[in-house]
């Protein structure tokens, strides 16, 4: 038993690829060992910007020897059969054993040494490593994420020879690029981590992450500030450094005029800095950068350099911000007719116009309780920031920038909020109207030009838009007919599509969109633990396109079918439905009513009582009461099945009883289509 160390030293590995590379390395190594039958203990992997490292504990000394016996042809078989067998086994005739007239090949494999297995594994892992993007370099032909510079492969104390395209394994690596550029000789798995630490390399990424987290917080605290946590930045900086040193710097407080999101974003995405806030949670004019060196001057030059880079970036941002402030959003919005939304769907100006129309309808119809003039204003300005310099620089801040500009230019807060929030799933009424209108328009627009999602392809993110729409409608309990909303949205596309096209297709497209919503609703509700068959049971009643009511109904149904009454009634329903199906019973008008069995009478009475109760409960949207009305049928229908023969020899009785079963089935179906319910 010996421990195995593998270090693959390369030029800088992109930070974002390191986590997957560690997992792939561990997995591929374990698979290779498994396939070869070489036992190992725990496998650990590490990464730094320049190294991928694997340590496998307690690797067995060799694989087990094996003996395999392959049965061949009879010794009397024709020569062709024997030749084929010899070819297959790679043996000569004299090596075969004969028993009872049958030839056998005995294949004996001696155990392979660990060095042999591990060496072969390393070679094939390097050759086939699944980097998201790999490259060639120099005059060679091997591929790695960036040029591979060295391989340390040591099993116990023995170097495992690996040679790939001129890169050979050894016991030598290098330390930190600047602190310790010279060669270091590694003894093995046990001294590797500590030897590198002595050469300014912290091999374990989790240790670097911890260090960055703690020291960045400490640097902020020392300045009387608090760090804005950003775990993504912690991991990224750990992937960019072998010897991380968080340093706090300050920038000119004048820049704080620029919207906070812009400052935080440019610090994070362009510079990988952490932002800080003061005790009142206001953004502080400070940043924490993570250097990869313990600088000789304590980091003063590094902080000063970073401060200047940030100042240049922020002055650029401030320039755009001040330019954008000068032009009212209303004027910016006029430029939207220069931007194509989609070649078949007109410009963004046309889209804004459609959003305004749909949003206004949402407010005027009472679906959203918001001021219609505010909704229209917000909708018309919602996309205006797309032509601002600021969004040109920071596309991720679309909406956010518009919101800031609107506020600074004196728009009502509701309008500014709606502009800022309309890309997400907001909660304020004006914002809701604009956000929902935008998403409905996007879905309807792309469906109307046959660009609907198929399989894994959803280039316009329509599934996401539908889910967001559902969340907005359900989360805010918006009462609206989805059919009406979709038809309205489709109708407003007429100018872009040409009237005839839109009008001819309206019905078909509206149905497709409603089906699409139904599917998305099931997906979304499944995550919330709602049974899709129950959604089907309510959907298939038809005409239910008020999602709030639909889900209330589904919830009541789910509660009901999970009770004993519900489960039992479902069984009775299925039995009734099966009988009717088997008899292909469509119902008749006649049928004697003399000579009723007591259970028949009881069921009729129960139905007489339950039907109006269920109807009025549904009318009043009291679905729990509707379910209670159904529950009252449970005993009568059970008694009926227990004591009454449906297929009575008397045709009049049979007809009457089938009609009664049909009445029972239909009464249940008016509450929900129980045939869709599973179980």
């Amino acid at each position: 038993m010996a421990d195995f160390l593998l270090e693959l030293l390369s030029e800088e590995i992109p930070a974002r690829m390191q986590a997957k590379a560690r997992n792939d390395l561990a997995r591929l190594f374990a698979e290779s060992m498994g396939a070869a039958g070489l036992e190992t203990g725990a496998i650990t992997t590490y990464s730094t910007p320049r190294r991928l490292v694997l340590i496998a504990r307690e690797v067995a000394e060799a694989t087990q020897a094996s003996r395999e016996e392959i049965k061949g042809p009879r010794s009397s078989a024709p020569p062709q059969a024997l030749e084929g067998f010899l070819r297959k086994t790679g043996l000569g005739r004299e090596q075969l054993e004969e028993r009872d007239g049958v030839l056998f090949a005995i294949i004996e494999r001696s155990g392979r040494t660990a060095a042999d297995v591990v060496g072969a594994a390393v070679k094939s892992i390097i050759a086939d490593f699944p980097w998201p993007k790999s490259m060639r370099w120099g005059a060679g032909s091997m591929r790695w994420v960036r040029p591979l510079q060295g391989i340390v492969a040591i099993l116990g104390e023995e170097i495992i020879p690996v040679d790939i395209d001129g890169v050979s394994s050894s016991a030598t690596t290098v330390g930190h690029r600047f602190h310790h550029p010279g060669p270091i000789t590694i003894g093995g798995a046990d001294d590797y981590v500590e030897k590198l630490r002595a050469c300014h390399v912290i091999v374990d990424q989790e240790e670097r992450e911890r260090l960055i987290r703690e020291e960045a917080h400490a640097a902020a605290a020392e300045a009387g500030l608090m760090l804005l946590d950003d775990e993504g930045l912690v991991v990224e900086n750990a992937g960019l450094t072998e010897w991380p040193v968080p340093l706090l710097g300050r920038f000119d407080a004048d820049f704080l005029d620029v919207p906070r999101e812009v400052i935080v974003l440019t610090m994070r995405t362009n510079q990988r800095y952490f932002a800080c806030v003061d005790q009142e949670a206001n953004l502080a004019p400070a940043f924490v950068c993570v250097a990869n060196v313990g600088a000789s001057d304590g980091g003063a030059a590094i902080v000063e350099g970073n401060r200047r880079v940030l100042a240049a970036r922020l002055s650029d941002a401030r320039f755009f911000w001040e330019q954008d402030l000068k032009l009212p959003l209303e004027e910016q919005a006029k430029k939207l007719d220069q931007i194509v939304f989609h070649e078949k769907l007109g410009t963004v100006a046309a889209k804004a116009d459609r959003i305004a129309r749909i949003a206004t309808w949402l407010s005027e119809s009472g679906a959203v309780q918001a001021s219609a003039p505010q909704v229209e204003r917000a909708a018309r300005l919602a996309k205006a920031d797309l032509v601002t310099g600021m969004v040109g620089e920071f596309p991720e801040l679309q909406g956010v920038i518009g919101g800031h500009l609107a506020r600074a230019q004196g728009e009502a807060n509701e309008v500014a909020d709606a502009i800022a929030d309309h890309y997400g799933s907001p909660a304020a009424p004006v914002s809701i109207a604009v956000a929902l209108a935008d998403k409905l328009d996007t879905i309807c627009a792309f469906f109307s030009i046959d660009q609907k999602p198929t399989g894994s392809k959803d280039p316009f993110a329509l599934r996401r838009a539908a889910i967001s729409s559902i969340e907005i409608i359900v989360g805010n309990r918006l009462r609206l007919s989805l059919t009406e909303a979709v038809r309205g949205a489709l109708a407003s596309l007429a100018p872009q599509l040409g009237d005839d096209l839109a009008v001819h297709r309206l019905d078909r497209t509206a149905l497709e969109i409603l089906d699409f919503f139904a599917d998305r609703l099931k997906v979304q509700q499944r995550e919330a633990g709602v049974r899709h068959d129950l959604i089907d049971a309510v959907f298939s009643l038809g005409g239910e396109d008020d999602l709030v009511r639909l889900l209330a109904r589904v919830a009541a149904l789910q509660d009901f079918v999970e009770t004993e009454d519900g489960a039992d009634l479902l069984v009775a329903y299925k039995r009734a439905a099966n009988i009717l199906k088997k008899e292909k019973w469509e119902g008749t008008n006649s049928g004697s009513d003399g000579d009723l069995a007591a259970e028949e009478r009881a069921l009729i009475n129960a139905l007489d009582a339950a039907e109006p109760k269920a109807s009025s409960a549904i009318e009043a949207e009291d679905f729990t009461a509707a379910m209670a009305a159904l529950a009252s049928l449970r005993k009568p229908i059970d008694d009926f099945f227990d004591h009454v023969t449906v297929n009575d020899p008397d045709p009049a009785k049979r007809e009457r009883r089938l009609n009664l079963l049909m009445r029972f089935r239909d009464a249940v179906n008016r509450v929900a289509d129980f045939s869709k319910i599973e179980g």
């Binding site: 030029e11 800088e12 992109p14 930070a15 974002r16 910007p49 993007k133 490259m135 060639r136 370099w137 120099g138 005059a139 060679g140 994420v145 960036r146 040029p147 510079q149 690029r177 600047f178 602190h179 960019l240 450094t241 510079q271 800095y273 950068c289 250097a291 990869n292 060196v293 600088a295 000789s296 001057d297 030059a301 590094i302 000063e304 350099g305 970073n306 200047r308 880079v309 940030l310 100042a311 240049a312 002055s315 650029d316 320039f319 220069q338 931007i339 194509v340 070649e343």
Partner: protein
């Protein structure tokens, strides 16, 4: 005293000259990046070894700011180094050049941050980094994988230093026009400020777009004539001309988003065809 702008160039020339590079002069055509120089694009193709370093003036009409922005210029300089095949110690050689120009890597934070390079107009791409010095991008470092649509075998290593940024950093200057150009009192603004003002005005307001569209068409047509005549170098020059004309048209704001891709595609086709012709003329296998 820190290096003046011209001493920075001289220092890099001496350093890369010592590494075996031929020190070339700028190409005498308008181009958006040092990569466009035939000493990079054409020499990256085929099997022959090649080492060169040169300064290339770059014109990016849309980046002009009338001399009002301390960090943006419509005309600036890149220092370009190409080494083929890329040597195993390319990073060390590069870091050596930083030390040479006065950047102490134990006092400053030098980092290699992922940045994959792609030039849609050249049909070229490579993997590498942007090199950060204290958070500032000072160099683009790329291993070419493809140029003109052809696989690079062997691979060329390309280093592109942004000279103004680097000089601003070394001199501790916040405005590019305040850079010391030499040590005799001449600064960058004395030489280039008026140029920035006039060229921004020309590129954004004055350039005759009809003439430019015409130039684009003529350059494309001339490129094709050269290709028929099996003259890859003049053909490539016309591709460069078309590329710059397109850039100016963009600055004039007369190319829509939809058209933009078509123009880029046209330039790429010309550049690729010129590269293909170069491969043929040199007898390189694709």
């Amino acid at each position: 005293m820190s290096l003046s702008f011209q001493d920075l160039i001289l220092t890099l020339h001496r350093y890369w000259g010592e590494q075996g590079c031929v020190i070339l002069q700028p190409y005498d055509m308008e181009m958006g990046a040092g990569t466009f120089h035939p000493a990079t694009v054409l020499r990256a193709l085929g099997p022959d070894a090649w080492k060169a370093a040169y300064v290339q003036p770059c014109r990016r009409p849309t980046d002009g700011r009338y001399g009002e922005n301390p960090n943006r210029l419509g005309h600036y300089y890149q220092y370009q180094v190409v080494l083929k095949p890329s040597p195993a110690n390319l990073q060390e050689l590069y870091l050596g050049s930083l030390i040479e120009i006065g950047i102490d890597p134990l006092k400053h934070d030098i980092r290699f941050v992922e940045d994959d390079w792609e030039s849609p107009t050249l049909g070229a791409w490579g993997l590498g980094w942007e090199v950060w010095c204290d958070g500032m991008e000072v160099t683009q470092f790329t291993y070419f994988q493809q140029v003109g649509g052809f696989e690079c075998r062997p691979v060329t290593g390309e280093l592109t230093y942004g000279l103004e940024r680097l000089a601003m950093y070394i001199q501790g200057v916040d405005n590019v026009f305040d850079l010391r150009f030499n040590n005799e009192g001449v600064n960058y603004g004395d030489i280039f400020l008026e140029n920035e003002v006039e060229m921004s005005t020309y590129n954004f307001e004055v350039a005759n777009t009809d003439t430019l569209f015409d130039q684009f068409r003529k350059a494309a047509a001339e490129c094709e004539r050269c290709l028929e005549a099996k003259l890859p170098i003049p053909a490539y020059e016309q591709a460069i001309r078309a590329s710059h004309t397109f850039n100016t048209l963009q600055a004039r704001g007369v190319i829509s988003v939809a058209e933009r891709q078509a123009y880029i595609g046209r330039v790429r086709d010309l550049a690729k065809a010129a590269c293909g012709a170069w491969m043929d003329v040199k007898g390189y296998a694709a």
